[in-house]
Amino acid sequence: MPSRTLHPEIQYRTLDQQGETAQLGMWVFIATETLFFGALLFVYFLYRRAYPAAFAQAGKDAVLWCGTVNLVLLLTSSLTMVLSINAAADGRRRAIAAWLVATALLGFVFLGVKGYEYYADYADQVVPAVNFMIKAGEAPVGELFWVFYFVATGLHAVHLSIGLGLILYMLRRVRRGDLSPAYYAPLEVVGLYWGFVDTVWLFLYPAIYLVGR
């Protein structure tokens, strides 16, 4: 199927200018998300500094293997995503789709592990406002760790789900032949977003899973 001849939008001189500008736009958005999650991490750091023992104690109940597996999954998905973009630069349409599918699969498995972990948290009775129980030797203020945990991982999961939606949308566009080596900026933009989703987990990982070791 021949790809359509693309024209830049009226406000752009060339497709290259349009593509680079789209990427810039996503970087600006990532900067805002940095401040969004950074503010949440500030709350975390503040309370961890105020209550170090309580946080370390509370962190022991974080399911380390889930967090670590998810870290590996996301890092791998960033690799598959960038390989998809490499394929787009060469115009290898089947490879683009294959690597995108791999990325999406890794993302779905992440959500699956996260779901299981939430179930385990519920069983451990660490869900604030639902069934939070202070265990022996724990300070009540440790609940703040768990509030942070659910807010942070919940927000991350929402962003990841949006990313999955974007990847599936990209798959449709690839199948329609919308991308070509001359212009694959939409895929690059989705790749940037996915990289940001991965970055958030890079910082959540030590915050949640390593504090209690």
Partner: protein, 100 residues
């Protein structure tokens, strides 16, 4: 600058990926090393290094336009003001944290 010129060979990305996994392992291991107050410094420092690899290589900060660096860094830089100026209060306020 053509699109193809922006792409690195796949092997480079695989090596970078392995590096990030290695760093993750070091971070996990360091958590068991009783580093005390240094623990978060090491762990988050490693996270920052992994993020740097992700940003510069995977998210192609290296490529044009160079304006991307400004936008990418501004978020992190601006957080310093939130953290730093807030700490002028939290580091010096009597009664924080409240006992019990």
């Amino acid at each position: 600058m053509t699109a193809a010129a922006r792409c690195e060979p796949a092997l480079l990305y695989v090596i970078a990926w392995l590096t990030m996994l290695l760093l993750a392992g070091i971070s996990l291991g360091s958590a068991y090393l009783e580093l005390g107050v240094l623990a978060p410094v090491v762990e988050f420092g490693i996270a920052a290094s992994q993020a740097a690899i992700l940003f510069v290589l995977f998210m192609r900060l290296k490529g044009p336009p160079s304006l991307k660096w400004l936008f990418a860094g501004s978020g992190f830089f601006w957080l310093l003001f939130l953290y730093g100026l807030s700490m002028t209060d939290y580091a010096t306020r009597r009664g924080w944290p409240s006992p019990g």
